[in-house]
Symmetry: C2
């Protein structure tokens, strides 16, 4: 055939492209635009479709490294069926990690596979062994020193004059296969197009129990404005309930202009204390402490005393200003002016919030504003604060948060940011992608078995799980959900158990929660009556009916059970009663297994038959197993897949079972205790 | 607050980043690595999540252009809920198209929205109108000529001294809103990170009915080797059945070395004709015509005569060589040598195919090989062939196909490539991504209602639909599925109707199909007895029981009903009998609606109640509607959602209903005919 003259553009590429395809890599968020999240010590399980044309054997490796490390560590991936390959690595340090995938054709492995089949069929020809010998020689050329020499020896043996059976045995020796594999020809290897990033947090990023407290209500004397010193005195109480994080609403000076009165009244009296979120006064702004709360020295003592008791302090980051904030005068360009020269206050038409000026990010001096806001975070970080709860991040530019969190964590990788964004789902997920460590959720409004199951499935079984860490709050100062208004003690208990066992991170708006405060400002509202947002409250901590001990028990169970410290292995189990919900969680090594059953109806006893997938849970179908209710103390011997449960909301609206994998018998020496 | 000294790296970015987020764009295949496929005239419906912080109004536009066009055409996207936006465009020319998304904040729209709510609450202040006037003035500054002047006039009116109600009315005038929107501030607009590509084919890429025919069996005289002239005589027969594509297995010289005998015997007698896939002999290789079939002139006559009858010729592209192929001597480096100097024949150990030498793509002269193979395709394209069925593409390098198809279609965008890859799912999908227009599928082995429903759902409802165009074949020369071996005439009819109505493209291995050839070479095998792959066959075309008329009817229905010419709007409908499957298809404009019911059991009458989602199908629940069986001719008046169907395989194993959307009543002038 005559060569056809074709324009240059029709020429094949200059370099031979790789033969192997690597696609559909997981986890990979938005084509690698955003990192996945893990905490130190956690596994990253990576999967990809890896294949080539024809039937050649492949080698695929997962490559990973800490960001600062120059070279990759490689882990062999294993095929798991349907051209899918898998491997994993643990993140070992508090810094970003990177990973990608490389794969190549395993020429000797391909040959050995065909040779084995020919051998089984008695169809080997002498030339087949020579093909193998050539491949071993090529590996020898890539090897150095002793192994090269050994490989050359093996190749010579395959070419030798020993009987064919003997040489075939040598050719298929697993040792030889391994030695050749140690010196692969990776010149044509394919690489995944992207290096992917793991953002690494400390354990508290994944597993945390928060307690929210208004310092000004911490005074033991009703009517006196509480102080940071009062909070120090309150620490043992909070710690005794087993919380890890003590979160304080803003502690800064509060504006006087347009100050709100009790129950959000627009008419404040001179004694009204105002909303802590109306930040800034003559005494200072976001880096100052409200004089009535105390001094910087008091704050430092609080931080250090809390740490001694195993509590971390979390501060509120609310980037907005009262009209009295120093920035209003110092940086007028950071606020929006209306045509009449007045500053634009916050509004959600027709509602007006004249006590709050939003920051205008769309101003020519925006870079100075961004820097000042980062400085606020760094200021408190320098004061020992490592956890921030960010107020309404969804009303500030997304890219601002991405920059701020990255910058703050670059030098302080132990910082944790909780996004308080109660808004549309895509916006909440996007904030998490941008870098927020944890996020508030819709849990407060998910009450039925169907709602909870569907929401948790989305959070823990979809790609969302790799970037969005839910924090479940049964209540907040802004949210008194209807069930808590009408469900009484059983509902408080049930919602606490759900929050604390469905999500590895959860929190309560304290005092109000353990004292089962359920009074709304009016029917149909989720606002508390006499909300602490606008006035001092005094709580009688030693009330007989306090949930303090119940909460302490739940938090102790969380601390003792690794299964409850992650959301990775949550599974819902069928139970034939719509008011009963059942689910289990297992630890990463599967040694710890916790089963939770909750009665969602605060008014009636409910019972049902629970079905457990014994094999998946690592239980044997032919032996009884013990379940131990860590909340109520009861122990039950269960048999097989279906077992009966009954929950009386008056005494125990929830059970948290530890499942022991094996019940000993008389053939064992000891009986379980 | 004192400015904190920070290293340069902590500075905000130099440019203010866009506020709007555009993510989760669909269709987008592997982050834009591969194009989506459409045919000329088809719509590309594009969706994305588009949102910004806060509550500002947004504008999002879909930008699209033909590859060669310098500027974009823009279509406004509309929100469809949950921050998802949608727009579409039609591809109008046979060339690649590009699309992407841009979005920005609509300042005037945001203002108008808030203003409207304030107005409704009676909370408007005069300064609010001034804010609006400023925004109109900014638009005026961006506008030119008359519109700029008109906008300045509108702004002046808003600032004027007319009563507030009057100015509010002017501010919310939809005309003003539109005029301002015509001059948006796009300086901060966000753009999707990627331009995405649409690969555009002609209609035949989407909608085609193929008939496969061995030319050497086309002789009307039993025992005589058929010729291309015989095929010319056969054209009216094929055309009368309504096919669009006549596909010929390889027509090149056939090798003599290791030639296969009848029924794949390794012992060929001198009269055996060999497998057409053992390509190449002294007479030439892939660009030559087997002398016994005829000449290049005969071929050209065949191409042009076929075209006159509405048939396109499709050739087989099988990139492998018989040992007698000229390339074996001319380009020894294109084949793999074994250490003993012999050429490596094809094998799938322990099976050996000594009549076929695979091409060795992994050779130093690979660029010349790639060029020669492209030349083969271009040679036949120059001979008028526009459709190629590619044999076993999954045994050649993926990137080779990507290059070959792109290069061939760069100058001949009307070329169509069908991938004959019966292999693992990921590999089949990847070939489609690389550029194959159509693909063989697993249809041949999907027989039950569950299997068909699941497979078609994957093909038509998952992202696969944007790159993989299935071609359904009830049989091929390699595949005589078991149901056809045992199901007789009803099974042939049922499988034909399924293939022709489930997929917009389908094909049959002809003669064998319409004559219901069901004899396998042995029990448990899918190989035909006395397969045409290895010997001449003579078919008696005027057999009384031929399916010819039935096939013609099905193909006529396909041509008359746009609903059957795409896979976009396929829906399965419940029917309470496992042996009955029911589904509908609708045309893009929804004016054409076809319902198919098939009895999958060739032996028994089956009946059941069919449920139709009337509203989705555009039917009114309170009026009867006519269904007209286009296959059997029957007309039925149905009522409501549930209707009874009964299919006797002996007379009609399938019904193809046209659903008429409305039955007239006596109140209308004409009755339906």
């Amino acid at each position: 055939m005559a060569k056809r003259a074709r324009p240059e553009a029709a020429q094949p590429p200059a370099e031979r492209p790789p033969r192997v395809v690597i696609e559909n890599v997981a986890p990979e968020i938005d084509a690698g635009r955003f990192p996945v999240k893990r905490t130190v010590g956690e596994q990253v399980v990576v999967e990809a479709d890896v294949f080539t044309e024809g039937h050649d054997a492949l080698v695929a490796v997962l490559r990973h490294r800490r960001e600062g490390e120059p070279s990759w560590t490689e882990v062999a991936m294993a095929p798991v069926g349907n051209d899918r390959w898998r491997a994993s690595f643990a993140v070992r340090a508090l810094e970003p990690h990177r990973y990608t995938i490389e794969a190549w054709v395993d020429a000797f492995g391909s040959w050995a596979h065909g040779f084995e089949r020919k051998l089984a069929a008695g169809a080997v020809e002498p030339v087949d062994l020579l093909v193998g010998a050539e491949l071993v020689e090529q590996a020898a050329a890539r090897a150095e020193g002793d192994e090269g020499a050994r490989l050359r020896g093996s190749a010579a043996a395959l070419r030798g004059d020993a009987p064919l059976e003997e040489r075939a045995r040598q050719a298929l020796d697993p040792e030889l296969r391994l030695a050749v594999a140690r010196h692969p020809d990776r010149s044509g290897a394919a690489r995944h197009a992207r290096e992917l990033v793991v953002s690494v947090d400390r354990e508290r990023g994944r597993f945390s129990a928060w307690y929210e407290l208004f310092p000004r209500s911490a005074s033991p004397e009703p009517g006196r404005h509480g102080t940071l010193r009062d909070v120090v005195d309150r620490l043992p109480y909070v710690a005794s309930m087993g919380f890890d994080v003590l979160y304080l609403p803003p502690i800064h000076p509060i504006g006087r202009a347009f100050r709100k009165g009790r129950n959000n009244s627009t008419e404040a009296t001179p004694v009204d204390v105002g909303s802590p979120w109306a930040i800034g006064g003559p005494e200072g702004g976001h880096t100052a402490i409200h004089p009535e709360l105390g001094t910087a020295e008091d704050f430092r003592r609080l931080v250090s005393r809390a740490r001694e008791l195993g509590l971390e302090l979390a501060l509120d980051v609310a980037f907005q200003c009262s009209p009295d904030h120093p920035w209003v005068k110092e940086h007028p360009q950071w606020f929006r002016r209306r045509p009449d020269g007045s500053v634009q206050y916050a509004e959600n038409p027709p509602k007006k919030y004249q006590d709050v000026y939003p920051l205008e990010f769309d101003n020519p001096d925006w870079r100075a504003l961004w820097s000042a806001l980062l400085d606020v975070v760094l200021h408190w970080a320098d004061e020992g604060v490592r956890i921030f709860r960010v107020d309404n991040p969804h009303t500030k530019p997304f890219r601002f948060w991405e920059w701020l969190i990255a910058e703050a964590r670059r030098t302080r990788p132990d910082l944790v940011f909780l996004a308080e964004a109660f808004t549309r789902p895509k916006v909440m997920y996007h904030l998490a992608k941008l870098g927020f460590t944890q996020s508030y959720t819709y849990f407060s409004w998910r009450n039925t078995k169907g709602e909870l199951t569907q929401y948790l499935t989305e959070l823990t079984r979809s790609p969302v799980k790799d970037f969005f860490r839910p924090s479940f709050w049964p209540n907040t100062p802004d949210i008194l959900p209807e069930p808590l208004q009408y469900g009484g003690r059983p509902m408080f208990q049930a919602r606490l158990v759900l929050a604390a066992t469905l999500a590895a991170s959860y929190g309560i708006y304290g005092a109000a929660f353990e004292h089962m405060e359920g009074r709304a400002v009016r029917s149909g509202s989720e606002e508390y009556l006499d909300s602490e947002k606008y006035q001092l409250r005094s709580w009688q901590l030693d009330r007989e009916d306090s949930l303090r001990d119940f909460i302490a028990r739940v938090n102790r169970i969380r601390r003792e059970h690794p299964a409850l410290q992650s959301n990775e292995r949550l599974a819902f189990h069928p139970i034939d009663n719509e008011q009963l919900i059942a689910y289990s969680k297992a630890s990463e090594d599967l040694s710890d297994l916790v089963l939770v059953v909750v009665n969602l109806d605060p008014h009636h006893v409910h019972a049902g038959w629970l079905e457990l997938p014994l094999e998946l849970l690592g239980l044997r179908g032919d032996e009884p197993y013990q379940v131990h209710d860590l909340l109520g103390g009861g122990r039950y011997l269960w048999h097989g897949e279906r077992n009966y449960v009954e929950l009386d909301p008056a005494s125990a609206p929830a059970q948290i079972f530890r499942i022991r994998r094996r019940v000993r018998t008389e053939r064992d020496f000891d009986y379980f205790m």
